[in-house]
Subunit: 286 residues, 4 copies
């Protein structure tokens, strides 16, 4: 169905009069049919953010030519920008540990084409989920992580990710803290789901922390991984109600339901180029 | 603070290539600084919707001249459009019955300038809330409604509304069904809060209906009033959880909390020109 | 871990003075350690509902003897009651069509023992999910349903369910309307997930209905199946926010997330004997 | 309407076999008709919590005699307990600053008898809300608080509270930190609404903190005030969604809506004796 193919242009630049006119003018000049436009001005730092979906076959040229034609304007406007093609599936590498709820959830979405991605491989520090992954026809790599081998282990993760030319790495309750080198190597490419409503309950055993504090809602947070633990830019969050009758185990169970939903939602936003970084915060063009 | 004054342009028109470029080009040509832009294309009917906030003092002319200069372009693009000025407060007439929760809520927002409106008068079919209204320095009109006098009563409501040049009429749990004539006279100007999650439980005693059906969430709906009861375009909705231990009275009590919040939210969207009609549905540029 | 084994007593009876004293007195007399108690009096019909979890090894006898000893008291109090044993896993038969999201979700919960049940077989009117089901070691039965064979098809479903001595039948987006005979044969045993916030949008294509009406929240409802379509007692519901930018396809996608969560939650309540029928409404002792 | 009068017995004690039987047996012996029962066992500390509503006219004696008759049993069971009478209105003293949203909300609930309490006086560190309070016929006390006079100011607050024999003190966005002496003098009697989802964003300007961190939900927390700032037992919490387009001012505005709702809900739970302390956590028998 070529007519549904579209390009997604995202850009951030200093705000100024005529910005939208210049960009939309460029598109109009070449007959570009706009499907969806999202714009945001941040008055605190005078930055402007945009995301525009353009029908691919409305333009008289392909992406390479778009890029070369658009570049001078982008340079003039001091833009950091990119444009992606809906026909090119993103390559998502999933990292898991032993807990299966997020993995089942992501693979169900991939099977039904709700997530229209390629999963070139899945990496785990345990071998437990190999059979399930391989049944889906996806290569599975067991990369054990011990206190002593972290450096080699994460080098191997990076090697596997590079080998398959990954676009995005998803920590689907991976339960390991990546090395600062790995975080630094793929900025804005690694998504994590943290099992608390950040910034509450950073670090280990957040449901235990939540239980001890006696909160009445528990949450989950999808964020980009940075070298500082649980401090990366937040993409999405959600909460669910608990009460005094809920044990830590109950919270863990309820929490799984929001973990998988929030991770899937955050991942979708990321894959559809709906997330733009604004310092340590995000613009999410839902 | 003149620098924070802004104009809000809203428009709906057939979708076409170059639409955004034409409108933003017009603004850029006159130095218009865009504060906020919301755009929506409805692929079902090929209609395009836009809302643009422009810094007032970035333009070299006032609204009257804006209107005359913009008109030819708007006509060419077959737009229905309007532009409003943040410095001109909207005049909101509130209709109440005996229940006070929505009225207290709206007046608190008005007192704190969260709702930056004028309330030229409040009309009620009962005299119960006169003292509270008049303490706030707002004229109060008691217009009784009986089975026999509906026509005269609503004529009087219309007269009062016209007399103060109302921009918007809010039924803040008014509990009376307006006449078809009144509804027809002010399309898109009358907002109601219905105490159910429409389309469930249309008409009288929705909490009783909800209780009988045994639903696990109850809701409230802010919508434009049309001649057909509870069928007007929906602006906003929300729900709250109930369970078997909640009586009808409990539901009524919980419901009030969402009624007032949803009404205030819907009213704010309306007053800020964030709501555009799209057939019997709404585009709400939050 | 025998010490964590417990019995769950559920009962409904006419309300009267001394009811709790009689039942808790019976338990105390035999040393019964109560883990959890939920009680509800319905003032509308003077019915009383209770659910009590008792530590199995605190009682000096097993279930058979409990039943015979408790029966006279239950009869005196005009109770309908039952008691179940946490050590006896419930046997849940799942019916699916071609959509996999609820099935993946339920099997993930079963794999992780979050749902501590047996799944003796899965039945589908399509063959699409056979591989996935069989990989989990669960028998899969393809029972096609056509306009002409409904009676035989549902007879076959009933035969399979009886053969494995099913305790509960779950329609995990089965997309077929069961025959009245099947509904009548297993009252309070068949759970469905309807993809709308009932009573809104009964029947086919609820997301299309929701889109047409322009609602701002969409929902899902887990309910017991009765002969009257989508009218059975509601166990749980939830909603998610949508707006004008969401197409029907978007709604379908969002809806899946609440469908699977609400179905899993309702099923858990049912399996833990937390749901008691009160006419066409439910008492859900969360 | 004497028949709707009821007593509310709340108790906490060590868990043991036969506890419910003993207490419900005592009630049954005197013909006590139980309207509502909530029970909770905390397996972590083997404490048992109960709340029982008893129809007043079903008992052959009044509260004084109930207390003396029940005392021996309570002592035997090592209970901390109390019983209250629905016919005796609780006396609630409200402390406010200049922001009116919580005050309007509470007074609307009091006017409509949703909150069936006495408000013997309202205390503020500003004089701004005097007129509004006095219009409602409630005494208003202006007690300024400066860096230098805190000790005298809080002594005056305590004196006023004692003078009217207050049962409960509500900080309705009071914006001042009470002295440790005041907190210590009225444990479990002072309710605060904090404008964040605790434990996130303790202390000043939580919405600014939330904005800086880029969270996607903001919240409010109703808790008991203790000497340690924002660390007291949590009664209720709620959140609302925000996104990148929301400024700090927008968050403040959205936040008000949940602040007032959460405060009102927490206060109602407290006034209906639904909140029992369990260390620094709460049991809330909703």
């Amino acid at each position: 169905m070529p007519s549904s193919r579209y390009y997604t242009l995202t850009a951030a630049c200093p705000d100024r009069v005529g910005l939208v006119a210049r960009v939309s003018g460029f598109l109009a000049e070449h007959g570009g049919w706009i499907l969806e436009t999202n714009l945001h001005a941040d008055p605190d730092n005078d930055r402007y953010f945009m995301r525009i979906e353009i029908k691919a076959d409305s333009l008289p040229f392909h992406l390479a030519e778009f890029r070369s034609r658009f570049a001078p304007l982008a340079e003039e406007l001091q833009m950091s920008w990119k444009i992606s093609d809906s026909a090119v599936k993103k390559r998502v590498v999933i990292l898991v540990s032993k807990q299966e709820h997020c993995l089942y959830d992501l693979l169900a979405r991939w099977q039904s084409k709700e997530l229209d991605i390629e999963i070139p491989c899945i990496i785990s520090n345990h071998d437990a989920l190999r059979g399930f992954v391989e049944w889906h026809g996806i290569p599975f790599h067991h990369v054990p992580v011990t206190p002593d081998n972290k450096q080699q282990a994460y080098a191997e993760v990076a090697r596997l990710y590079d080998e398959v030319r990954g676009d995005c790495m998803v920590l689907a309750r991976y339960m390991q803290i990546l090395s600062p080198e790995l975080c630094a190597a793929y900025p804005g490419q690694i998504l994590n789901i943290h099992h608390s409503f950040l910034p509450s309950f950073v670090g280990a055993k957040p449901y235990h922390q939540a239980y001890q504090r006696g909160v009445k809602l528990i949450g989950a947070t999808c964020h980009y991984v940075t070298a500082e633990l649980d401090q990366g830019p937040i993409i999405d969050q959600d909460v669910i109600r608990v009460d005094h009758s809920d044990s830590v185990d109950d919270m863990v169970r309820y929490g799984k339901d929001i973990e998988k939903t929030v991770l899937a939602r955050g991942l979708r936003y990321h894959l559809e180029d709906r997330v733009l970084l604004n310092g340590n915060r995000t613009v999410v063009f839902r």
